[in-house]
């Protein structure tokens, strides 16, 4: 009971968005004018009341969080998982008090630090010294406390020489070190970590992870929002799975993560259009089936960074004699185009005229090429290699899961659009001659 540091009861967060009603037709000019006037009147009224003005005349409520109940005990690490838009960030925002819940309540015992806040309020024109005081105060440290820890902060950040240089002249590494150092000395009871924020900055992320482990070991509490199931499994004892603003599962991390992976990897892996006339396509090309598959692991098909991925399309060619080509464009979740591929080396049908009929094309992506994360396949059906017959933007989507050994030092998402395993070799070219006994042996043997 007193050991519970975060207690959430029936927590809800609602957003209201406004938009124009579209299916009402206004014919008379008078109606249009009246409607505009009404909008202006409502806006003016909202302004005077200090409410938020909603654009348009129809309102829609969106529940970002709905009836969230959970407890976190002291010293526990809890992973928060769920797909994008499931309410993870909103939950974190409420816990760090940036936004208020609509209903329900959370009780928190102890000082909360959100890694969202790292470097908050840093001003580029101010010096390192000035920013330490500024940032410390923003994070909730008293001036006396900052003064007491000042030297430690500076040493940890390794910026002694640049203490009186404006922060805008810092390298990004120094900047991050300083920002992190201030936060690290806050000694929070509860640490909120959002992994999304640290994507791409390796130094920052590894420091965050190390800090997290340190915090958890020191008997403090960590709430870790992440898409990286390997990290969640290793760092957390329990997991909270959010789905469209609700708690789907909360409990033992292995169990919850397994459930999440099973659901998220099997959902959109296959489409089938049995009725040819309503299938996506047009008079010359129609889809029949689209499928993506990986290796099978214990009954559930899971695509990991180490498994080959097969993408398969079945389609109707409806115009006799046209030379069909499928062109696949693979996008990742950051919206980066990963690659584009088409069957130039396909031995049987490439470059030959297609008779009318059902075809199947299969493309294999080798293991150890794709990075983890969501991928989307965009399909182009091309005739004679120059005119596009049909484009399907969202033909397939699949998630590639990280599958590194659990002993790995690095839990973050690997940076880059792809993650190939390349061949590396290292050789010692010239040993340096020094007088340490070990080195001597080397030089003797080389004589």
């Amino acid at each position: 009971m007193s050991d519970i540091v975060i207690n959430s009861e029936k927590l809800c967060k609602k957003y209201v968005i406004g938009h124009q009603v579209e299916n009402v037709r206004y014919i008379a000019l008078r109606d249009v004018l009246m409607r505009k006037l009404r909008c202006v009147w409502h806006k003016a009224k909202d302004l005077m009341h200090g409410d938020h003005v909603l654009q348009g005349d129809a309102f829609e409520e969106i529940w970002a969080l709905r009836d969230i109940d959970f407890d976190v005990r002291r010293g526990e690490s809890v992973g928060v998982i769920g797909r994008n838009g499931s309410g993870k960030s909103t939950l974190l925002k409420i816990l760090s008090r940036i936004t208020e819940p609509t209903e329900g309540r959370v009780r928190i015992r102890g000082r909360v630090l959100s890694l969202l806040e790292v470097g908050a309020g840093f001003h580029p024109e101010l010096t390192g010294r000035e920013n330490i005081f500024l940032n410390g105060a923003i994070l909730g440290m008293s001036r006396a406390e900052i003064r007491r820890k000042f030297d430690e902060i500076v040493t940890f950040a390794e910026i002694e020489k640049f203490l009186d240089t404006p922060v805008k002249r810092y390298s990004s590494g120094m900047y991050v070190r300083l920002a992190f150092s201030v936060a690290a000395h806050l000694e929070p009871e509860i640490l909120l970590v959002d992994e999304v924020l640290s994507v791409g900055d390796a130094t920052f992320q590894s420091k965050c992870i190390a800090k997290m482990e340190g915090v958890a070991r020191a008997g403090r509490t960590v709430l870790f929002v992440s898409h990286n199931m390997v990290a969640v499994r290793n760092l957390c004892s329990r997991a909270l799975w959010l789905d469209r603003g609700r708690v789907l599962q909360f409990g033992d991390v292995q169990h919850v993560v397994a459930g999440y992976l099973a659901q998220s990897t099997s959902a959109h892996l296959e489409h089938h259009w049995p009725n040819r006339d309503s299938a996506p396509g047009n008079d010359s090309f129609r889809l029949h089936r689209a499928r993506v598959s990986g290796a099978t692991h214990g009954g559930l098909s899971q695509i990991t960074v180490q498994t080959p991925v097969a993408i398969e399309f079945e389609y109707w060619n409806l115009v006799p004699g046209q030379r069909l080509n499928l062109s696949l464009v693979l996008w990742n979740e950051e919206g980066t185009l990963v690659f584009n591929t088409f069957p130039v080396d396909e031995p049987t049908w490439h470059g030959r005229p297609f008779p009318v009929g059902l075809f199947r094309s299969r493309c294999e992506i080798p293991p150890n090429l794709l990075n983890s994360g969501n991928h989307r396949v965009q399909l182009y059906a091309v005739r004679d290699q120059n005119s596009v017959l049909f484009v399907c933007d969202d033909a397939l989507s699949f998630q590639v899961v990280d599958a590194r050994e659990e002993s790995s030092m690095w839990y973050g998402r690997w940076v880059g659009a792809i993650r190939p395993r390349l061949k590396w070799s290292t050789a010692l070219l010239m040993p340096e001659m020094t007088k340490s006994p070990h080195q001597e042996r080397v030089s003797v043997s080389s004589k």
Partner: protein
């Protein structure tokens, strides 16, 4: 402050909770308030050539222009025997305090959006801290006033003691509209264009180049609806000490300032709960 009691104190997050502890929270975050005010001052004159001298140059040049155009060219008179330049400067002082504070306060939330979207604290701190920064500017330009008084051999009277009250009135006059506009600015960026307009307009409708006693008596009360009239009259009374105070006007100005302030704070607090959702 929080260090010793961590573990014992429990934070409850629910709808309306921030509202309830508002003023207590404001007091708890007083240190942050001071640091933000200090930051605004420190940042303002970094990367400038003459730095703090800007605080001196701006009101001084305004005074010279007014003295030349209105005093010499248009032939406006000072009231009493105070030199015209001194009379103008006694008005440009509160005017520049008001206009800088208003301008800075109205842009303060947008300028700190990264802070607002990341950390919790009573948002009222941000615009209020900018007013402190404007006040520091004011103190610097106050030195010129003393210089001018020495130059004209114009000794200050006992009225000077009341001056802080009028300084406060000028600051509060800018805080009210400043709070409202900065809150509106968060979602509707068009409100930032209001300020330069108000400032440009205000310099002509406020009694800066002339004494408010030149306004015909039947219009004088109406003229005092501009809260700066009361502020400037008060400044002149404290510094020059000759013309008697027009009481109905002053009371009206104070009333207008109070209403604006009440309205500004109310609007600000209504909107601040959702700043993070919109910024």
């Amino acid at each position: 402050m929080h260090t010793s009691t961590v573990g014992q104190d429990e934070i409850v997050i629910e709808r309306g909770r921030i509202e309830k502890n508002y003023w207590a929270d404001l007091w708890r975050y007083r240190e942050l308030f001071l640091i933000l005010a200090w930051r605004d001052i420190a940042v303002r004159y970094k990367q400038t050539v003459i730095g703090v001298a800007w605080a001196v140059v701006r009101p001084f040049l305004t005074m010279i222009i007014f003295t030349v155009i209105f005093g010499r060219v248009a032939g406006l008179r000072s009231d009493g025997e105070a030199p015209y330049a001194l009379m103008v400067f006694a008005a440009t002082l509160p005017w520049s305090l008001f206009s800088t504070a208003l301008g800075e306060a109205s842009n303060s939330l947008i300028g700190n959006e990264r802070l607002i979207s990341k950390v919790y604290f009573p948002r009222l701190i941000i615009p209020t801290a900018t007013i402190v920064a404007a006040f520091v500017d004011f103190l610097i330009s106050f030195v010129i006033l003393l210089g001018l008084m020495v130059f004209y051999q114009f000794p200050p009277g006992w009225n000077m003691i009341v001056l802080p009250a009028f300084i406060a009135l000028a600051a509060l006059a800018s805080l009210g509209p400043g709070l409202w506009i900065t809150a509106l600015n968060v979602k509707y960026r068009d409100f930032r264009y209001v300020i330069p307009f108000v400032v440009q307009f205000g310099i002509y409708i406020s009694p800066i180049g002339f004494s408010s006693s030149v306004i015909p008596n039947q219009w004088r009360l109406l003229y005092s609806l501009n809260p700066l009239t009361g502020v400037i009259d008060g400044f002149r009374w404290c510094i020059l000490g000759r013309a008697p105070i027009y009481w109905p006007g002053l009371v009206l100005s104070i009333g207008v300032v109070t209403i604006c302030l009440w309205f500004g704070i109310r609007q600000f607090r209504n909107m601040e709960r959702t700043f993070a959702d919109f910024i």
